[in-house]
Amino acid sequence: MKFLVATILTAMLAFIAGLLSFSPWWGFAVTSLLVAILVHQKAGKAFLAGFLGLLLLWAGLVWWIDMKNNGVMSVKIANVLPLGGNSIYLILVTGIVGGLVAGMAAMSGSFLRSTKSSR
């Protein structure tokens, strides 16, 4: 339950951070860290919740964008990056990059609140 709450909360706050014009692109790292403090879990679980939260958010968002765009953009960028022009890879890479940053930030949050006893 805690895991699910953390994942959803991470995704939601990251989305909101992305809407704030004063926030740098990595604003979601801060919110993910906060979520991990608020909903405390062990480091591994915190990482996974952060990772999944952003993976699902980002991959979901760009999948939606890509569908409405008929893949016009993703095919071009997937050639530049280079991912062989494969849109699916590009969507996954996007999700994983977001996930890694959020996961690591969440892990930091978990360690911040950890005590020896909760180990």
Binding site: A43, D66, N70
Partner: protein, 815 residues
């Protein structure tokens, strides 16, 4: 808190963010770039994107509406000129900001700020050519005329209004890829854009440096053969037989011309790095009512430029209560450049005239360049210290000396490989103060021939052939520009610059520029050929292209009952008139007994070729390979007598030489002991071509379109191959009416019939949106390839509720 693990994971997180926030070589900051809410995904425009908007700006005076049709062409309805050009600026920026920003930065010699150290020499050359100096002079002229300044100001404000509305997430894709930000627009940048056009069209039309080297080894008669002034087959713009007035100015050759100029055999090692493409040219023609089915004139124009995505052109209709104009615009400049209004239509081709000369400068001290010898004394040069900012490394400083002639483009510090101590100043008409933009403002509003003549009078550089048709039935053409009045062969070579005796003595009076109105034959055409026959009383060198004019004339002279559809077909015509002229000579001089079976096969294909450079033509490929290697066979040995090499004679010159003198001095290969005849050269050329053709055939590339692989690159070319459109199934070539080469060709095709209502068609190889993530990025290309046109919707006041309107953008003054 678990301190150590916390620190470790925080450090890793920070390092991750740092790494994703930083540009690595050409890889953009990936975190930002991939972020769905900031990065490139934001540029992935939904196919169902709406362009409806309600916008208000303090700079506007009244209300205005922009109606977009289904091709995303904006039809702007404003209450006054200032609002009109504010909105034009806004829309240019909204759809084409990156291209405007990039092109004007490059024009100014600031490409290194984006591209890094590899562009330093390009930037130096732009600055030493005086591009910014030219734009500043144009600005002074604009500022002198408050009415025109108001229009340029309004345009600039419109561009900046859009730039001001940008957020990180809405930046055009290229800024995200290259990791930089758009810079504010200024009137100077508009002037720079127009100077970029001036360079494109009037800077590559001379060959002075290379001719100077040619002159050092060839005798005058040979020079005439290599680089003739009037081609035998010329079909000039002004119909043959037209009588010319006595010249208003007769330039006098200096008495020392022979000793100091013609007989001076000093060579030049300097070379321009970014010399404009020789194929920059165009076709335009107009047929009078006497030759059309409808009885009214039809005007056609297709400017040939480097094809790019986004396209150089942006289609628009601009309307106020006092004017209504449709056509293509240049993002970066107000006004419609090629188009029509309710009363007239106009188009342009390049004049190809030489308006740029070099002068030898003697500095007192080559290091400081502070003083130069002129008219018997040391004169102070004006030194401009250019600071070139370079992405990823230190600024580069470059000092450019300005003389009475113009900037010293080449000297000891540029280019590095120069060992001789020649300093070359450049005299170029683009440096002279003038306000070309106003010609277009007036043309947009011209009602008849007199208005047209008045509008183009002040147009100085780059010289253009303005073709014209009116609803009252007039047809006309003017080659308009400021052209120096030269004595015979003045400025073909680097001239002495130690005094004023070799300076230009004046310009050809405007009224004497080549022109023709309502000729009896009922048509006029221009296709970058020499504008007049040899009876014109001035010496007018240039980089003329003859073949297309010959082909167009051939068709127009024999056509009658012409319809717009006929004109569209003609713009897409593939007939190779040069090949027609040379085919019999080639076949006469090939020694068939010496050919292998494969070579014979190619020869048979060539023999049965219909002379059309169509996409699937194998004959055209064989012809082109053969002719290219024949040119090398004839000229290479002779041109290589000097370093850098003397310029190549044109294809036309080669063809005409073969028709005229099959035993010419140039046929023999001077590097071999034996004497070659035309038989030897033609046959050897065919064998060499066959080797190339065999390779091409093995690769499945014998068909002409596969051989040349027509491609439209993104503006950043090789940096973004994924943004290009390759392998377009289109034929043609530079000397053919449908002038498509590998990446160059008809950048806009337009046909306008002056009926009521006006019937107009047009297409360009691109799309209205500069965003590679938009379906409007390249949506016209397939039509362009197929030779199909869009019917241009010349919207009327009463059409505001028309079903053609897909989206409406409303503008008003903000409270």
């Amino acid at each position: 808190m678990r301190v150590a693990p916390f620190i470790i994971s925080t450090v890793i997180t920070s390092a991750l963010i740092y790494g994703l926030n930083k540009q690595w070589g050409s890889i953009p900051p990936m975190g930002k770039f991939l972020h769905p809410q900031y990065g490139f995904w934001q540029n992935a425009e939904p196919a169902s994107q709406s362009f409806d908007a309600d916008l208000s700006f303090a700079e506007l005076k009244g209300k205005a509406e922009v109606y977009f049709d289904d091709r995303l062409v904006p039809h702007v309805f404003a209450e006054n000129d200032e609002d009109l050009y504010f909105i034009q600026g806004y829309l240019h920026a909204k759809f084409r900001l990156f291209q405007m920003d990039l092109q004007t930065k490059a024009a100014e010699g600031r490409a290194s700020e984006i591209a890094g150290a590899k562009a330093i020499n390009y930037d130096k050359e732009q600055r030493r050519l005086g591009m910014k100096f030219a734009a500043e002079n144009a600005m002074k002229e604009i500022d002198k005329d408050p009415a025109s300044k108001l229009l340029f100001d309004a345009y600039t404000k419109g561009v900046n209004a859009y730039i001001g509305s940008l957020k990180e997430s809405s930046l055009p894709l290229e800024y995200k890829l290259l990791n930089f930000k758009p810079e504010k627009w200024t009137n100077l940048r508009t002037a720079l854009l127009l100077k970029m056009m001036a360079k494109m069209l009037s800077s590559g039309t001379e060959n002075d440096l290379a001719y100077t080297n040619a002159k050092s080894v060839f005798i005058p008669d040979q020079l005439k053969t290599l680089y003739p002034q009037v081609p035998d087959s010329l079909m000039p713009i002004v119909p043959k037989g037209t009588a010319f007035e006595k010249p208003g100015i007769v330039p006098v050759k200096p008495v020392v011309a022979d000793s100091f100029y013609f007989d001076n055999n000093e060579t030049v090692s300097a070379k321009e790095i970014s010399k404009p493409d020789i194929n920059n040219g165009s076709n335009n023609w107009v047929v009078a009512g006497s030759k059309t089915q409808s009885g009214v004139p039809i005007l056609s124009n297709d400017p040939h430029l480097e094809l790019s995505l986004p396209s150089i052109w942006y289609e628009m209709q601009l309307q106020t209560p006092t004017s209504n104009t449709y056509g293509v615009t240049l993002p970066g400049s107000p006004f419609i450049i090629i188009g029509f209004n309710d009363s007239i239509a106009w188009g342009v081709t390049n004049a190809q005239r030489d308006v740029k000369d070099y002068y030898n400068i003697k500095f007192k001290d080559d290091k400081t360049k502070a003083e130069y010898w002129f008219n018997g004394e040391w004169k102070k040069s004006e030194l401009r210290i250019e600071t070139i900012k370079v992405k990823g490394s230190k600024d580069v400083l470059d000092t450019v000396a300005y003389t009475v002639f113009g900037p010293v483009m080449f000297d000891k510090s540029f280019q590095d490989h120069i060992s001789s101590n020649r300093n070359l100043a450049v005299r170029w008409t683009a440096h002279d103060p003038s306000n070309e933009g106003m010609t277009f403002y007036k043309l947009n509003r011209a009602k008849n021939y007199d208005d047209y003549e008045e509008a183009i009078k002040t147009f100085e550089c780059p010289g253009q052939n303005f073709v014209f048709a009116s609803k009252t039935g007039d047809i006309a053409i003017w080659q308009q520009g400021k052209f120096p009045a030269r004595w015979d062969r003045q400025g073909l070579y680097v001239m002495p610059g130690e005094d004023s005796s070799f300076m230009w003595q004046g310009s050809i009076p405007q009224a004497e520029n080549p022109h023709s109105k309502n000729p009896a034959r009922g048509y006029l055409q221009s296709a970058n050929q020499r504008p007049v026959d040899s009876t014109y009383p001035y010496f007018i060198p240039g980089s003329y292209i003859t073949a297309r004019g010959v082909t167009i004339d051939h068709y127009l002279s024999s056509m009658d009952g012409i319809t717009p559809n006929d004109m569209m077909k003609l713009q897409n015509n593939y007939f190779n008139s040069l090949a027609e002229d040379v085919k019999s000579t080639l076949l006469q001089f090939i020694i068939e007994e010496d050919l292998t079976a494969t070579e014979k096969k190619y020869l048979d294909t060539f023999k049965s070729w219909d002379l059309m450079a169509s996409p699937d033509s194998k004959g055209q490929t064989i012809y082109q390979c053969w002719f290219d290697s024949l040119e090398a066979g004839i000229w290479m040995d002779d041109l290589s007598r000097t370093t850098p090499m003397a310029p190549w004679p044109t294809e036309q010159t080669t063809m005409e030489l073969l028709k005229r003198d099959t035993a010419s001095y140039f046929i023999d290969n001077i590097t071999t002991p034996q004497k070659e005849t035309l038989y030897d050269i033609v046959t050897a050329a065919f064998k060499k071509a066959s080797a190339e053709l065999t390779k091409a055939e093995a690769a499945g590339k014998l068909e002409w379109t596969k051989f040349k692989n027509p491609t439209i690159y993104h503006l950043l070319k090789d940096a973004l191959p994924a943004f290009a459109r390759k392998g377009l199934n289109v034929g043609g070539n530079g000397n053919i009416i449908n002038a498509v080469t590998h990446s160059h060709g008809p950048s806009w095709r337009m046909v306008v019939q002056m009926s009521t209502p006006t019937e107009a068609y047009g297409v360009y190889p691109g799309g209205q949106s500069g965003n590679p993530g938009s379906k409007f990025y390249d949506d016209y290309i397939d039509n362009w390839v197929a030779g199909k046109y869009n019917k241009l919707w010349f919207m009327r006041e009463g059409d505001r509720m028309d079903k053609n309107i897909k989206w409406t953008m409303k503008f008003k003054k903000s409270e």
